[in-house]
Symmetry: C2
Subunit: 263 residues, 2 copies
């Protein structure tokens, strides 16, 4: 596997990708680790631009990467452990970084290509929750996630880490305003299912057939009244009352599980 | 509300509680924020020893705390914003810290007092997952969590933060060796339910009646063969195959949901 040394300027540019402003400007994002690298190589949603490895990368990781790259051409840059630590957002940098294009998808695909399940997130600010929701969605076969205008950037490194490589299997659609969602749901025949702290039907009674958009809001505030009013179905996760609220990613897991189309 | 200034020595002792060694030695742990403070005041599992507030605590928080303390005597210490930031493990310290006794519970309560559901965790190293599992457990009315010897310390500040105050409603039993669990399950009539990546029954087929211990292991390794062999039931969360694994707290949410005793 041929590698080129990572120049100082190159490293500087990559470091800046930790900031949203630069991710937007460059249209790129960073993901870390062998899992992310494997998924980036396999997927085609987020074209892989380059790979950065630490010179002290363990032999087995190096051999694995060589094999993966035997039939593909991707530039590989090598750098010191100190450099990779600087680029990494993890406590223990894993020695492999990938740089990918942040390509947003669109809701407006031909009607026949629309999936049966879409997740719509409003006002999500927690990186861990967003990444975990990507991962759980993909686990249940849901590969399209739309984000309202006030959500955290899904290309944020912490989101990508929490997604455990699954971002590469998920199509993201950013900045989907509520009105856009409503008209989309109406023309394409989706039911909007909103989580409500009380008064909704139990998750087990959610319909399993047909097209559904699952609406999820931030834990503390919940969904906006605009979304609640436009929802076709309200759903409430039963609880003992002993805990004030459920973690958003935990609630999402239960709803994705109950509306799954996988056997 | 009477407050005393926080002395330098006192602050130093509290700072050390970020380390497991000192938590063990002092038998104390720290929790942050108004939610945690409210739950610490209400619960009696983890006796509240003292409260630390920042001198710039907003008036509404201060008034709330005064009301809560009108019928109770708990020492309150005040300190500067810089001091509270030093004690806090959060990016934006919330101005209220509570110091509580870390009182472990025991599995050996009288048979009649045993709850129908217990969660047993093996080898959990992720603080966010453990805190979220506490929260989800309590949501579904499960208030007893046993931890195997190799788990992260549940009094770790990040665990407590992720639990969102629910630790105060949960009885924790640390260092429960597998053999101890097996003999407990046998004498007290619990079924051990183990998550398995494949080959188990679907979560919906888990029995809802009787006594269950839900066994959960770390995502990457799963449960040890010892636990798997002793389990009465294996359960597998169905998936599309598109994601390699499910986040542990997400899997726990689905299993707690399917075995819930709440309506």
């Amino acid at each position: 596997m041929d590698t080129e040394p990572l120049s100082l300027n190159h490293k500087r540019r990559l470091r800046k990708l930790r900031l949203k402003k630069y991710r937007e400007r460059e249209g790129l994002f960073l993901a870390e680790g062998r899992n992310a690298c494997r998924e980036a190589l396999r997927g085609d949603r987020y074209p892989l631009r380059e790979i950065i490895i630490s010179r002290d990368l363990p032999d087995n990781d190096r051999e694995w990467l060589s094999r993966e790259l035997s039939s593909r051409t991707v530039p590989v840059y090598s750098c010191s452990r100190a450099d990779i630590n600087e680029l990494s957002s993890e406590e223990h940098a894993r020695g492999i970084l990938v740089v990918c294009k942040s390509v947003d998808s669109s809701l407006d695909t031909p009607n026949n290509d629309q999936p049966d399940r879409i997740v719509y997130l409003e006002g999500i600010s927690d990186a861990g929750n967003l990444g975990t929701i990507m991962r759980t969605s993909l686990w249940f076969g849901v590969n399209r996630i739309a984000l309202g205008p006030s959500c955290i950037d899904p290309y944020n490194t912490k989101v990508i880490r929490a997604s455990a490589g699954t971002i590469f299997g998920v199509s993201l659609i950013r900045d989907v305003a509520a009105e856009k969602l409503f008209s989309f749901a109406e023309t394409q025949g989706y039911d909007l299912v909103a989580t409500s702290p009380r008064g909704g039907i139990p998750p087990a009674e959610l319909k399993k057939e047909g097209r559904i958009v699952l609406l999820l809001g931030e834990e503390s505030r919940g969904l906006s009244s605009e979304l609640m009013e436009h929802a076709h179905t309200l759903v409430t996760v039963p609880g003992s009352g002993a805990a004030e609220s459920l973690n958003l990613a935990a609630a999402a897991a239960i709803l994705l599980y109950e509306t799954r189309t996988v056997p």
